[in-house]
Amino acid sequence: MINHEVREGVLVARVEEKRVDAARAPDFKTELTRLIEDGHQQVVLDLSKVEFVDSSGLGAIVATLKRIGPRGSLAVAGATGAVERLFKLTRMDKVFPLHEDVDAAVRRMAG
């Protein structure tokens, strides 16, 4: 459900599911955590293919940030429509900087 690559030292995790809801959040969290545990501290979560996230999906993203720890950071790229709206409504856009695309997010994080 997640593809990843490393760009300029930043882990880019692209979510391949259209929906991250309660049915998928546990696996989503497990996969994301496994990626983080390889030691990455700078992570960009690419949500450009995702059309819908519910509170379980958002909770999994928050859990991942806690796992990365205070010295790392987790930014979001490509959130649009309902997904972007959820981040703003819950004020989570204050926690996860929203970037238009992966390029912009990596540039900001690596630079």
Partner: protein, 148 residues
């Protein structure tokens, strides 16, 4: 176009997406994308709660979703036959849930956001626990389209 549709599904987290897409499509003729997003999120949170908390994750139980389209509002009802939830949970839920200190990562919520999201996204939310069934009724008002 006014009308009402009832949907019956098994209490399975995998069917929540099907219901969400169906309800979104039923409402799609009249509402803005933003209103559709609000309705879809509320519906998903409500049905997920029934499956996870009401039925404790048991599949094979019934879940009924009613959609009634009126000229100025959509009424979504989620009906279940599980033990009722504590109505106070719903009354206390609201946007205060998201008054976190964003600099304190450990304090950020990982759950307990569903009821708050429902109340923030719908105009009216009512919970009625009857003898045999519980009914969460969520109403979304919308601007009448200017044409026709």
């Amino acid at each position: 176009m006014a009308g009402a549709v009832q949907l019956l599904v098994d209490s399975d987290l995998d069917t929540v997406a099907l219901v969400a897409r169906a309800v979104r499509a039923i409402c799609s003729d009249r509402l803005s994308e933003e209103d559709l997003d609000a309705i879809e999120l509320s519906l998903v949170e409500a049905t997920t709660n029934v499956i996870k908390h009401g039925y404790n994750g048991r599949s094979g139980e019934t879940l009924k979703i009613g959609v009634a389209l009126h000229s100025d509002r959509v009424v979504i009802e989620v009906v279940d036959t599980a033990p009722p939830m504590d109505a106070a949970q719903l009354e206390q839920a609201g946007e205060e849930r998201f008054d976190f200190d964003e600099t304190n990562i450990e304090s950020l919520p990982e759950g307990g956001m569903g009821l708050a999201l429902i109340r923030m996204n719908m105009d009216e939310v009512e919970y009625v626990a009857q003898k045999r069934q519980n009914r969460l009724r969520m109403t979304k008002m919308f601007a009448k389209p200017s044409t026709s």
